[in-house]
Amino acid sequence: MMTIDAGGMHYKELNRLIRDGIGKGIKKFFLENVNGQYYIGDGIKCDDVVININGIPGNDLGAFMDGPTIIVNNNAQDNAGNTMNSGKILIKGDAGDVVGYGMRGGRIYILGNAGYRVGIHMKGYNEQLPVIIIGGKVGSFFAEYMAGGVIVLLGLNDSDEFDSEYFASGMHGGTIFLRKKIDFSKYSKDVELYEADGKDALFLKKYLTEYADSFNIPLEEITGKPFYKIVPSSARPYAHLYTSA
C-alpha cells in the first residue's frame, strides 16, 4: 500500500511515483489532495492494481489503461477512460465530457451525471466488451458514432424529460440500455428501440449487480423498472452520403 499526498504536485511526478510503486510490487494506492492532475493511471498494464483518489482528478483519467481499477471519490473531469482497454473506473460524483472516448474494453461506472459525448466512438470485438453505466443523466451527443460495447443510462433520481439532443447520432454498433422510455425518434433516425427481453435482463444483471455493489446501493432500486434497448438500424448509417444507391 502506498499513500501519496498529491497536493501541488505536477502530474508527471505523480504518475512517476505510481509507476515506480507498481514496479516495486505495490498494489494499492491512495492519492490524497488530488486537484486537476492529468493522466492518472494512463497506460498502466496490470490487473490487480487499485488506485483510490481523493480530490478531483484531471483530464484523461485512465486513458489507454489496461487492467487497473481507479476509484474516484469526487467528481472527475473530461476524457475519463479515453481509449481504455481493460480495467475499471468508478466515479462516485459526476464525470465530465467525452467519457470513454474510443473505449475498447473495461468498465466505467458513474454514480452521478456525465457530460457531453459519452461513449463517442466506443467499440467492441469478440471478448472485448466495454461497458459504461451512468447513474444520473447525460449531455447531448450521447453515444455518438458508437460502434460497439454497451452503455446503460439509469437516470436515477431524475424525473425530468430526457433533455439532451443528438441522441446516438451516427450509432452503428453496440447496445444502449435505458431505464426510462423516451421518444427517441426526436433524437435520432439511426437507431431502433425495443423492450429489453429476458436474455438482456440476464446480461444486465451481472453488470448492474457489480454497479450496485460498487456504490452501496440496493440492486432493487436500479432494477425495479423495465429497461429499453436501443440498437443501430444500420451498420453503416451514412452510406448514402458516400455511395450512389
Binding site: N35, G58, D97, G139
Partner: protein, 377 residues
C-alpha cells in the same frame, strides 16, 4: 504590430487554452492571489505564449476616467501617441504600469497607463461630434492601426487588462496582481493555434469596459471581420478573439440589444430548435439570425467576458470546449476545469457544467435606492 519577440521555447504540448472567471455580486473586492492560484492549476492548458487578466474595480479613485493601458515598442512610439492623447484628452494622471521583472518575464514592451477624459474641444475634428465612448473607441482603433509600435490594450473605466507573453502565473507576478484589488477577475492561459504569440495577442481583449477571454477558434472570423469593418472597427491584433469584443460592443452598446439577446446572436439556436419555439420567440430569433447572421460565431469556443454590469460565461452551440461553473455565497466561479475552481473554493454551494450555448450570467447587485421608488419595481 509590436515587434517584441517571443523568447520562449516552442515545446509541443497537447493542450488548449485555459479560462477562469471570478465575480463577487456584491462588489466586494479581493486581491489577485485567488485568480492567479486558480489559473495556475490550468498551467498545462497553455504553453507560455500568452497569459493575461482583466480586473474590474481596481481604479476606484479614477472611476470616472478612461484608464488606457498602452504597450510601446520604443520611446518614439510613446512620444507620438502621447502627442495625440495630449491634443484630444485631459490627462489626469499618467505613469508606468507597476511591474516587477522576474526571471520568467524579462523582455517586455514599455507599459504605460493614462487616466483620461476626452477634451470637449478636441483637435480631432473628424470625431468631435462623437460621444465620449465612441470617441474613445475611435481613438483606440486609430492608435492600434496607425501608430507603429503602439497598442492600446485596455481602455475602460475602473477596470484594466494586464497581459503579456508568458504563463499566466508569471504574468501575475510581473504585474504584481497580489497588490491589486477588484470585484471581478478573469484570466487566460494561452496556447496559440492559428496566430502568433505576442504581447498584444494575449487575452483578454478589451474595448471600453468589455473584456474577453476565449478558448477555441472562431472559424467565422473572416465574415465577422468584414462585418465589423463596415462599422469602422479595425481588427489589427491578429487574433480571432478580438472580433468577439467588437461584436459585443456593436450589439450591446451601439445597437442597444440586451445582453441575453446578444448572446443568442453569438451562439444562435439552430433553426430546428427555433422551429419548436412559440410564435413570438420564433419571430424574434429568426429576425436576429437574419439581421445579424454575420455576427454569428462559428467554431468551437468557451468564452468569459466581463463588462460594467457583470460577467458572462458561455460555450458554443454544441459544446466543443469545456466550461464548469460554481457558486459560493456571493461569489461565482467559472473555469475550463473544475480543479481550477476547487483550488480557491474547496466547498462551493453548487457546481455544474453549463449546457451548450446557455450562458452563465452574473450581474452585480446594485444597492437598493429606497427614496427613489425603485423598491418593488
Amino acid at each position: 504590430m509590436l515587434n517584441i519577440k517571443n523568447k520562449f521555447n516552442l515545446e509541443r504540448d497537447i493542450s488548449g487554452c485555459g479560462l477562469v472567471g471570478i465575480i463577487n455580486a456584491k462588489k466586494v473586492r479581493t486581491n489577485g492571489s485567488d485568480i492567479k492560484k486558480s489559473i495556475s492549476v490550468e498551467h498545462d492548458r497553455g504553453n507560455g505564449l500568452g497569459g493575461g487578466f482583466a480586473v474590474y474595480g481596481n481604479y476606484p479613485e479614477y472611476a470616472e476616467l478612461y484608464a488606457f493601458h498602452i504597450m510601446y515598442d520604443n520611446l518614439s512610439a510613446k512620444k507620438d501617441v502621447e502627442g495625440y492623447l495630449n491634443n484630444n484628452f485631459i490627462i489626469e494622471k499618467e505613469e508606468p504600469i507597476p511591474t516587477f521583472r522576474t526571471a520568467k518575464i524579462y523582455d517586455h514592451p514599455y507599459l504605460h497607463r493614462y487616466f483620461l477624459k476626452p477634451k470637449s474641444d478636441r483637435q480631432d475634428k473628424l470625431f468631435r461630434e462623437l460621444g465620449d465612448d465612441d470617441f474613445v473607441v475611435n481613438s483606440v482603433m486609430l492608435v492600434n492601426q496607425h501608430y507603429d509600435g503602439a497598442y492600446v490594450f485596455s481602455s475602460g473605466k475602473n477596470m484594466g487588462a494586464f497581459k503579456g507573453v508568458g504563463y499566466p502565473e508569471d504574468i501575475a507576478d510581473f504585474y504584481k496582481l497580489e497588490e491589486i484589488e477588484g470585484y471581478m477577475w478573469t484570466a487566460h492561459n494561452r496556447f496559440p493555434t492559428n496566430t502568433p504569440g505576442w504581447w498584444g495577442g494575449a487575452h483578454p481583449f478589451t474595448l471600453l469596459d468589455w473584456s474577453i477571454v476565449h478558448n477555441g477558434e472562431i472559424s467565422s472570423y473572416g465574415i465577422n471581420k468584414r462585418y465589423l469593418e463596415m462599422y469602422k472597427y479595425n481588427l489589427s491584433l491578429k487574433t480571432d478573439t478580438e472580433a468577439i469584443t467588437y461584436i459585443l460592443d456593436l450589439l450591446v452598446r451601439k445597437h442597444g440589444i440586451p445582453i441575453r439577446l446578444a448572446l443568442t446572436v453569438l451562439a444562435s439556436p439552430f433553426y430546428n430548435k427555433i422551429d419548436k419555439m412559440d410564435r413570438v420567440q420564433k419571430e424574434l430569433l429568426t429576425a436576429l439570425r437574419q439581421i445579424y447572421g454575420s455576427a454569428l460565431l462559428n467554431g468551437p469556443f468557451a468564452i468569459v467576458f466581463g463588462y460594467s454590469n457583470g460577467m458572462v460565461a458561455m460555450n458554443d452551440r454544441i459544446k466543443l470546449r469545456p466550461l464548469v461553473a460554481a457558486t459560493a455565497g456571493d461569489f461565482t466561479y467559472v473555469a475550463s476545469e473544475e480543479a481550477a475552481i476547487s483550488a480557491v473554493c474547496p466547498s462551493p454551494d453548487r457546481v455544474w457544467s453549463p449546457k451548450a450555448g446557455e450562458p452563465v450570467m452574473v450581474e452585480f447587485e446594485e444597492p437598493v435606492m429606497q427614496n427613489r421608488g425603485l423598491v418593488g419595481l
